[in-house]
Each structure stands twice: as structure tokens, then as C-alpha cells.
Symmetry: D3
Subunit: 187 residues, 6 copies
């Protein structure tokens, strides 16, 4: 799985969650995970989570650490399972780095009652995709949130954290492929 | 997803990891998770993890809390992802109940350097299956282990823990199915 | 499988056959079958059956009992088989209620030489979908048709019939899932 | 889809429901439906329907019209849907030939309270398979049954009926493949 | 697999690579291969190969022998394997007809350093598709090319060659389906 | 894709075509291609090609260059397409090394009327597999054969040839995966 961290800021407005975005822009050909930081503002018309659209709950954050994951298969349920595992891994990495324990509820991470993350998984015509964003700032968010800074990360550490999370995910995906290739069938 | 907790002790010798074991013995028809407690002794000839067979590492524990999961599809990679998520959930439930933080390495759980669990995922002719065992006793195990008792669970709480873990998994599987059914595709 | 009957009239113009229509409008999250009544007018530009487009055969009925089915998988052939079974079930329910025997030809139902139904199955980006319409009125249809009223249903019974058909389908889908989970493999 | 009617009697004992039975014995290479007549006696050890094994309900009939269907894919749920459609078709053919109306309950056919049929669908290592048997005799069956003879077929007509049912199924499978190839996707 | 050769010239501009093009225009319902001749000019906005888009390499040829293949499944990787095999077959047919040996590099054919072909495989909402074009003329192409005429085919033979290639592919696809239906599984 | 060449001779008797043979014996975990040389003798009871079993055509060669390929998916048709492509590649490599042109008929290679190869593709419980053998000796074969030696390879070059063929296949499989990840979908 290919990993890329984007150095400059980039606003996430939903259009990054489109097939081959990683290939078009960063020449990553194959399953990939990209991380970058930037504001997050997704209008209702761009949202793929129709539960949020119905609830009229647009997504907004002044600053987030973003991940865009693409898997070139068409099994959305499988990618939702991967997404849940990815959220678990973020929790594990943050614990390792800060000693703080987040709670996971489905594809959301909380610190106490405050939300750290947004995440969605969907299908493109040629792949399945995941977006996950972690608040770097908790100001002006539509719901009570916590930020990575409040959890103890300095601004300088954010992209390093992103890179570590991306590597952790890529390693687990590799490890999963290996685990699939070592067992005999049962009756 | 169907859940069943077996009241009496049952020895796990590997033959429980066979298709429709839940239906044959407990009338569970459909995807299911069963938990029970009992010793664990899997001879090399019964093991499905060929990496362990090659390493000549039979599985033994005087007492374990066992889970047998069956999903009626044939995508082993997907079930390995589910397995990793299941292991993450066990960690989350144990934290919630004891405040103790385990570390997960792939499909293994550790407390410090001591291993709490064994787990394997495989294919049957009609389904995919997972076995996971958590040590209730750490005596006489072939590698250094930690037990649920040492983590703070009393003997009386073991099956309740098993039931809670099973429910947590079944709830997440339901939640995953729902998450798959709320998103529009992207371009 | 989720079932919903819409009380008020709704015109079917083809746009209802789009992914997550049931979730967007009626909060049904998961595989679903919806029934409602209303006129049916699908312009050539909205038709998904290209055989009808080629034949320049737009669909029109002054009043129909409609069903919209959505299955969240991407196997169109499987959904065509489901569609054929659904058409068989409509025939079975109408016989049970009226004693009248329809003949099925693929995905069409006839009473003598007169057509009762239209039906199509297709793929959306995230699911497979079926539309089936049964004439409540046979006036002004482009081909000779028979209506549910002519088969003996009163106007008041139409939605009850729709509800019964929807339940019959949902029950069979459940029963099929169970049947898949009770057999061992053969050599 | 290949069709073959076997002229001589053949006892069905369960072992005919094995992969490539049609190819090994009758050189049918590809999806196929075979029909033949003969007694039916399946011991519990040969049964694939574990619900029947649990209920200790062996299958026995002095004389049946048998169908063995093989599809070279591995989606058992899809083949269960096909099986239900096949059972519906048998009902339709019998009505067309005798004017008698059977009732279908899942994969069973009844005439009044008497059972006409047995049927099962399962997976082989390389295909999915269906067996269906229709009683030619109703003597000595373990449950109350009706026979094709009692429904009005003479002994001489049995294989012709079988051939017609097989052709009806093969035609519908072809028609389903065509129906999958004429629709554009929707949004 | 259905085969059709179009007698009159047709310009390939990329829009022919769309689902059901063969059905809409030539009534081919099912997996198909169509061949025709005509100029080739695909603007960047119509190109599906994003590697070429990134490289700003539009496709142009004054005259080509074109093939449009459609398979009604959604496994793009499988269709890429089919595409590679198709390219191998073109090489085999040209050798048989001219004694000239082309070299294949992935989905490209070369004669010495000169390129004979362009090819791409992609997904539509309901199928997978392949376009392959073989130069009839090598004039004004953006890269050094060789043409079928330079390889020894007269203008009159071009469509016959196309027909032979199409038949060769269709025969192999049939043969592959048969090969899938003659083997028992292994342990 | 993992590649391994076995230095010592090994007799191929059919049992090597079993799941995880590469992992059990050579620690290759994942899709793999192994080559080795040795006699080939497959009794009818071990053969997976039932067409050969029916024709009573056991496989025998005093010396062959063998390839065992394993792909960890369950789509046999896809692996038959891969097999055909693999056979094409063997032809291409032999041409490059000797200038001799073989003809391919399905999964067989011929030099004139003499057969160079045997090949079969099948399913295991956890994977799909291919065996291909190329005659090193043409003595005492049940049908007229040609050998790699007669095609101009010295005994010393055989394993090098095997290694080159294996690398060519592994490279193409990688290239196919990349090709799947560079195209946008079409309408």
C-alpha cells in the first residue's frame, strides 16, 4: 500500500474523495493512503453520508489532519470494516504517543463527550474510498469537539502523527494479506 | 448476528472450527458468535495456521474463554479484517471493565510482554470462521501468558465478559451493515 | 428486509429508481421494498431498459401499484433472478386472493393476452434495484392491459395487496438467507 | 445451459449431488440440468440439509422424478434464489399440463396438505448445485405426499414432463442472462 | 460471445467505449466484440487512461482497425488479464497471416521499435470494456508507429483480419469457460 | 508475487498441486510461482482434469520443467485466463531465447505437431492454482512430444529458462494490478 504525506496545507471540501485522486495528483498507482492538513468544509451538496444530509449536518473544522484511503476493489462492506479498524488504529497510536484513551463509537472517536473525528467510506466507479479527519482545532465546530492540540500534540508534530497513522494502517493491510495466505481450509 | 453463550465447560481441540458447528449443536442458523469456556489443546494435525505448524507450536491452555464466529460468505480477507476489529474490541471491552490497556499486534493481544490470546481465521466450504481464545489461566502455557484472572476478572465474571464481547461484536457487524447503506457513490 | 407502504399517491416517472431513494425519503436503511400507488409515465430519456428505448416504447399507465426494491450488493444477475421470483410471488398472491391464474413470461405477468405489469432491474453505483408496476387502471395504455380492478380488487384493497406482496417478498428473502445457512458442502 | 434426460432408471442416494457428476457421467461440460427417474433414499450420513439431519428426517420415496442442476459459480445464496424460481416453474408447468394448482412454500411444493417435492441447494468445491425430486409414487413416504401420477400424469408422461421442466429452467436462465445485458445503470 | 464487424468507416473518439454501445447500435445483447475501421482521435477530456492524461499524450491515428469488447461483469482486473491475452492473440493471428513477429509489452504491440497498437480496459456502471486499435496508417501519429499495411496487409484484407481476430478472441473466451467446467477441486 | 526456483530434482505426481504447498515447503506466503525440474507421473486418481480422466489419458514425462502457481482468490475462470496468458508468455520467452515459434492452442504449446506442454488450472479450498510442465525429454511420452532440449536449450539452461519464465509471469501480474489502478470509469 502506497503512503504519501502532503507538506502544504490543503482544504478538504469533499471533492478529494473521488477515484484516483491520489494517482492524478500524486502519482500513487495502487491502493494508497494520503495524509495532509487543512481546513474542512463540506457543503451538503458534496456530502456522501446521506444520514448527515438528512440531518442537515454539514461538516466544518478550521483545521484538520486528513486521510484519504483508496482500495481498488468494489466491496463497500469490506471497506467499512477496514474503516472501523483504521479508527481503532488511530486510537492506538494516540494512546502510544500521549497516554490518553479515546473511546470509539463505530467510525467516530471521542475524548470524553467531545468528538475528535469525522469519517466516511464510500464507493467510486472503480474503487472504495475512506475519508477521515481529526480536528487540529476545536474552534467553531458545529458540535463539541476536541483537537489533537488539546490532546497534547504540538503543531509541529501533526504531520508526523499523520505519517505514523498512515504507516500503521499500511502495515496492517499488508499483515492482513499475509494472514489470508497461511491457513488451510476446514471442513 | 446470532449470539450464544454455552453454560457448561467445553474443551476446544480445533474441531469446533468447522462449518455449521453452531447450527448443528446450538441451532443457530445464520452468522453467529458463540462463547464458552474450557481447556484448549490443538494438536499440530488439527491446526489451521500453517505458520504455527511449521514452527511446531501447538496451542495449549488449561482454561480459556473461547469465541467461535461464522460468517456465511467466502471472502477470507474480509474475515481477517473482521478478526482484527474483533481483537480491537476485546481490548476495548477489557479496558472499559478493568482500566487496563492491552496492546494489539495483528490478531494477538498482549499485556506487557505476556500474551493473552490466540486467534485464527479460515475458510470452510460454505463460510468463513474465526476462533479466538483468551487465557483464563496462564499456567503451563507454551509461551509467557497473562490471564483474564490476572487482569482482574473473577471466575464468576468470565462468561459475562464473553457475553459482552460477543454482543459488542454483533452490534458492530450490524452497525457496519447499516453504514454500508447510507452513502451515495462518488465519481 | 425493510417494508414501507406509502399512503398518498405518487407519480412514478423513473427517477424513483435511484440509489437510496428509500433512505432519503423514508429513512429505510438497508435492503428494502416500498409500495405505493400512482400514475406511471417514464419518458424515453429516463428509461433504463434500452430494449424499450430502441423499440421506442415509453411506459404509461394512468394508475399503478408500484414496488421499488433495493438490495445493497452489486450482482445484477442475482437481482434479475430475485426479480423473476418476485413476479412469481405476485402471481401467487393474486391467485390466493382472487383465484385467478396469471401467466408469467420472464418478468411480465399476463391475464390471457393482456399485460398486467411492467418491471425492470438495474444497477446503481451502490446497489441493485427493481421497479415493478401493476396496472390499477387499464385505460389508455400503449399495449392491451388488464388491471387489478378487472382482476377483482376494489380500490380500497390495492394498498393492502401491495403490503401483502411486499411482506411475501421480504419473508422469502429472509427464508433464502436461512436456507443458505443450513447445508454442508458436497465433494 | 445444457440439458440431458436419462432414459434408464437411476436410484438417487445423495451421491449424485457432487461436482461434475454431469460431466463425469454424461459429458455435459458447463452449467447443466439433468433429469431422470428412480427411487430416492438418502441416508442421514449423506444428507446435506443439516436441518433434516437434526430432525432425523431421512428422505425416502419409492419413485421420483429427479433433477440435478449445476452452476459453475460459488454464490450459494444466488443458487438458492434460482432454486426457488425453479420450484415456481415446476408449479407453472404442472398447472399448464394438468390445470392443477400447487402451493409453494419456500423450496417445497404441496397439493393441499400433501408434499410433492424435496429440494436442496448446496456448494461443491467448484460449483453450486441443486437437487429436486418430485414424487412419482406416494407410497411409504415418511410424510404425507402426493405423486405426479395422482396429479394426473401417466407413467409414460413422466420423463416428458421432466424434459419440459428442464427446458423451461434452461430457457429462463438464458433469459436472465439477457435481461442483465440490456439496462443502463441509474444514479 | 457475440461478434460483429461494421462495414462502414467510423471515427473512434472515445465515446464508443461506453456501456451497451454494442446493444444500442447493433443489437448485440450479451458479451460482445465489435470491429470496425476509421480514424482515431481521443481528446484528453475523453481519455480513460489517466497515465496518458497526466503525460498529456492524446491518441491520434489517421486510420485504425478498432475493437470494442464488453463483458458483463464488474471485475476490472479480470478484464485486464483478458486484454493482455487478447493482445497476445492479435500477435498470433498476425504471425499466422504474415510470418512477422511482433513483440508484446503489456497491452502494447511493437514491430521493432514502432508501435502498432493502443489499448485500454475500464469499468462501466454495468460491465467491463476494452478498446484496442491497430494502426492501418502510420502517418502523423504522435509516436513512431507501424501500420498493418506496412506489415503486409492490403486495404482489402483489413476487415477480414479484424473478423478473424474477433473470432479468435470469442473462441478463446468460450474455451476458457469450458476449461473452468472440467476440473475437480484439490485439497 | 513471490518467485522460487528449486535447485534439486523433484518428481511431480499431482500432489504438489495443493493449497499452500509453496508456503509449507518453501515459506512463500502470498501469491507465488515456483519452478523446478523432475519427472512427471500423474495417476488417474490424482488427476484434476476430468476430461483426461474420462479419456483415460494419464500424464507422463521422464523429465519436465514444472511451474506451480498459486493465487489467493477463488475465481477459477480468472485463473484460467491467467493460465492462457502464462502459456502465451512461455511461447514469447522461448522465441526470444531460440527464435523458434511455437503455436498455442488454448493451454497447450506445440512445435509443429508435437506437444511441448501440459497444464491445468483448478481451485483449492483457499486459492486457485496452476500447474504447467514443459518436456525436457520427449522419450516415452504417451503422445508425440517435443522437448526443450530439442528446441535448443542445453540441460544447464533449463532452470535459468524456468526462472526467466517465472519472472516474466510475476512481472505481468504486477503490471496487470497497476493497469487496473489508472483508469477512470466510463458511462
Amino acid at each position: 500500500m502506497l503512503i504519501h504525506t502532503i507538506g502544504q496545507e490543503l482544504k478538504y471540501d469533499g471533492r478529494q474523495l473521488s477515484s484516483l485522486w491520489a494517482f492524478r495528483n500524486y502519482r500513487l498507482q495502487g491502493d494508497s493512503i494520503i495524509c495532509f492538513r487543512g481546513p474542512c468544509q463540506v457543503e451538503l451538496t458534496e456530502m456522501v453520508d446521506l444520514a448527515d444530509v438528512i440531518a442537515n449536518a454539514p461538516i466544518y473544522s478550521e483545521s484538520m489532519l486528513h486521510f484519504i484511503i483508496e482500495h481498488f476493489d468494489l466491496d463497500l462492506e469490506k471497506t467499512v470494516v477496514r474503516q472501523r479498524l483504521f479508527i481503532s488504529q488511530i486510537k492506538e497510536v494516540i494512546y502510544k504517543r500521549t497516554g490518553r484513551i479515546l473511546s470509539r463509537q463505530g467510525d467516530d472517536l471521542f475524548y470524553g463527550n467531545k468528538k475528535l473525528s469525522v469519517s466516511i467510506a464510500t464507493l467510486s466507479p472503480v474503487s472504495t474510498m475512506i475519508h477521515t479527519g481529526l480536528n487540529i482545532s476545536s474552534r467553531n465546530t458545529p458540535v463539541p469537539t476536541v483537537s489533537l492540540v488539546e490532546l497534547g500534540f504540538s503543531e509541529n508534530e501533526i504531520l508526523t502523527l499523520g505519517q505514523e497513522i498512515a504507516e500503521t494502517y499500511a502495515n496492517e493491510i499488508s499483515s492482513i494479506k499475509l494472514a489470508r495466505c497461511k491457513v488451510r481450509g476446514v471442513v
